[in-house]
Amino acid sequence: MFDKEKIAQVKKATDNWNDTVIAKTIAKFPERKPEFKTSSDIEIKRVYTPADVEDMDYERDLSYPGEYPYTRGVQPTMYRGKSWTMRQYAGFATAEESNKRYKYLLEQGQTGLSVAFDLPTQIGYDSDHPLSEGEVGKVGVAIDSLKDMEVLFDGIPLDKVSTSMTINAPASVLLAMYIAVAEKQGVTPEKLSGTIQNDILKEYIARGTYIFPVEPSMRLITNIFEYCSKNVPKWNTISISGYHIREAGSSAAQEVAFTLADGIAYVEAAIKAGLDVDEFAPRLSFFFNAHNDLLEEVAKFRAARRLWAKIMKDRFKAKSTKSMMLRFHTQTGGSTLTAQQPDNNIVRVAIQTLAAVLGGTQSLHTNSKDEALALPTEDSVRIALRTQQIVENESGVTETIDPLAGSYYVENLTNNIENMASEYIRKIDELGGAARAIEKGYVQQEIQDSAYRYQMEIEKGERVIVGMNKFKVEEAAPKGLLRVDPIVGELQARKLADLRSTRDNAKVDAALEALKKAAQGEENLMPFILDAVRVYGTLGEICGVLREVFGEYQQTVIL
C-alpha cells in the first residue's frame, strides 16, 4: 500500500527523531515509565508511523464494511443504518418480578430482552434441591418448570422481541421451555428470535456452571444446532463467549485466542456430527468483554473479526459469507468496576461503551455502577442504558464506519493481537484442541498467570486504578442497594410442591423415561426434552435424568 522508498524515508526520519529530539528531551525529562505495555503485554511505542503497517494491503487486510475479511464490520452500513441492540442483562428472583422489570425496560426503549438465571437453574437443580439452599433467585430468576417460564414472559409477545438467555449446561431445556411458551401464545418456532449462550467450554475454563462431561455436553450443543437449523431458523444457537475468560483475568489477546479456539471446537463437533458448515455457522454468535484500554479493545474486536473470517474460509472451507462473519454481543467489564467511589464506574462504562461501538459490536450490555457491590438498582440500570444512548446520539462516533481504521497504532495493534491469538490457537491445536487443552488445565493456567500478574501490578502500584490504589477518599457505605428477599427459596419450593401434586405425573414419568432411553442412544435429544417440558417435567428432573446417563464434569485445577 505504501511506497517502499517512502517507508524507508520514514524509518530514517523516525530514527533521526528518536536519536536527536527524543534523546535530548528524555535526558532532561525522563518518560513516566521505562516501558509502556498493553494488557496483552504488547509493547507500546512512543509513536507509530506508516513503517509500522508497511505490509498492510487495504483490500486484503481491511476491505469494506460487510466485505471479507470483515475487519471494518459485518454490515455494509453499520450504525448509519441501524443502531446496535441495547440489551441489559436482567433477571430478578422470581418470574413475576423479572416480568415486571422486562416490561419496564421495554417501555424505556430497550430493544431486546436478556434473561439472567439464578445459579441452581444454571446448574440444573430445582429450587428445592439441597445445593440450591441460599442461592435461589440470587443472581437471576429461578426457573423450575414451564410454569415459571409462562409467568416470566406473560404479556410479552415472543414474535415481537428478541430474547437472549444466559444459559449454558441446561440450554436445551430452557430453549425448549421458551418454544413451549411461544406455542401457548400461538407463536410458531420459526418466528422466534434470540440467543442462548450454550457455550460449555468457557464454563469449564472460567465461569464454572457446568454439569456434564465434555463429550455429552458437545452432543447437546450440536443437537441444538441441528434442531434449530430445521425448526427455529432465526435463533442464534450459541454465543461463544470471551467475556468470562476476560473476567477471569485473561489479556485481550488471550480473550480472542481462547474464544476463537472454543469456536473452532464447536464447528469441528458439528461437522463431525454430520452437519454442513454453512447450515449452522451463520447462527454462531460471539460475546466479548470491553475493558478500559480503549484502543487495544477496538483493535481486539477488529482482529477477532478478521481472524474468524480466515478460520471459517481457510480451515473449514465455508462458502457462505454469512458463515465467515463474526457477529458479537459486548458487555462492559464487570471486573473493571470498583467498590470504591462507585460513581467513577459510570465513566469507566462510558469508555468501554465507546470501545465496543468503535469496535463494531452488534449489541451491548452496559454494567451499572453498583455491580461491584450487589445487584444493580433500577436507577443505576437506567444510567447504564443512558450511557449507550449518549454514545449513540451525541458522540458522533456512529456517523461513519470503523473511524479508527488507518490509525497506524490501531492497525499495528490489530495485527499484533491477531498474530498472538493465532499463535495460541496453534498451541491449542497441538494439545489436541480446545476441549483437551482445557482438560489439561493449559488454558486456565495461562489465564491465572495473567490474573495474578495483573493483581500484583496493582498492589505494587505499577498499575493505577483510580479510587482503589490511588486518589482514595474516606467514604461512607453506599445505601439503597437491591437485595433479594430470602423467602424466594421457600416460595419456589412451595410452587414446586404444588406443581408436583397437580400435574399428570404418569405423563412426566413417561417423558423422562423416553428421554433417558434417547440419551443412552444417539438420537437428537431436543424433541424429547420438549416433550418433557410440555408436560411440566422440571428442570431438575430433566437434568437429573441426563446426569444419571452422562455423569458429571470434574474440574481441572492447576494453580
Binding site: 489436541g432 489439561k440 455423569g551 470434574q554 492447576i558
Partner: protein, 314 residues
Amino acid sequence: MDIKAGLLNGDKRACARLISLIENEDAQAVELLKELYSMTGNARVIGITGPPGAGKSTVTDKLAKLLRKRNKKVGIIAVDPTSPFTGGAILGDRVRMSDLNTDPGVFIRSMGTRGALGGLSKAANAAVKVLDIFGMDYIFIETVGVGQSEVDIVKLADTVVMVMVPGLGDDIQAIKAGIMEIGDVFAVNKSDRDGAERTATEIEVMLDFNRGAAYRPPVVNIIAKDNNNIDKLMEAIDDHYEYMQNSGNYKIRKRNSLKTEIIDIFKYNVVKSIEQKSENTNIIDQLVELALDKSIDPYTAALRLLKELRSTES
C-alpha cells in the same frame, strides 16, 4: 485436646492434630507414636504415583469409593511439592475427592514436601502410622512420581501403583529412569485415548527388560473418570499383595523399609543434634573456616563433628 484419647476414639480432629504435630517435628508426637507403635500394622498401604496429569487423584478417589462399598475405612495422604523459594504450597488434590470429604469412614490429609533431609518421608511414614492406629483399613499415599524423595515415600507402601497416561511423550522417558522400577501394578489411565495401546506396549517392553520371572507387574487399562476397570485395578493390587504374602517377599519388604526408616530417623537425629550444637558453639562454621584455609580436610572435619557429638552425649 487429649490427642491420644481422641485418636483411639475415632475423633478426626485428634488424628489431624497429631499429623500436624508430626509435620512440625513436635516432641510430643514422637512420644505418642512410641507409645502406640504396637498398634500399627493393621492397614494395607498403597502408593499411587505417576507423572503430573496422569489422573492420580481421580484413581485414588475411585479406588477409595470402591473400598468404601466394601465397608473398608480409607485414609489418604496426598503429597504436593512445597515451593523451595517461599516455603508455601498449594495442595489441590482434594478437588478430585470432594464427595469423599464428608464420608465418616474416610480421612484425607494433604501434605507439602516442606524441607529437605528426607523429612517428608519421615513425616509421611509417621502419618501412615497415625492413620493405621486411627483404624483405617487401607491407606493411600499419593505423590507425583518425579523425584527421589517422592519415590522414597511410595516405597513405604505394600503395593505401588504407577499411573500412566497416553500422550505424555518425553515425560515417559523421564519417568523411566529409576522410577518405573518401583511399580508393582501399572495402570494406563484414559485408555480410550489415542496412543493408549502404545503406552501399554512401552510399559510391557520395559518390564521385559527389567524383571526376572517371579512376579511380573500387570498392566491394567482404566478410565478412572468413568470408573472403568477400577475393580480390575483393585484386583491387581490384591493379587500383588497376596503374592507378596505367599512368596515371603512381604516380610523382606517390611524388613527393608523398617531398616530404611530406622537409618533415616537416626541420620535425621544426628544431623539435628549437630545443628543444635552448632547453634551455640558455631562448631560447623569453625570447621568450615579451617577447611577453607586448608588447615584441615573435610573428612577429618566430619570425624571431628562426630566426636563433638559423642562427647556431649556421654
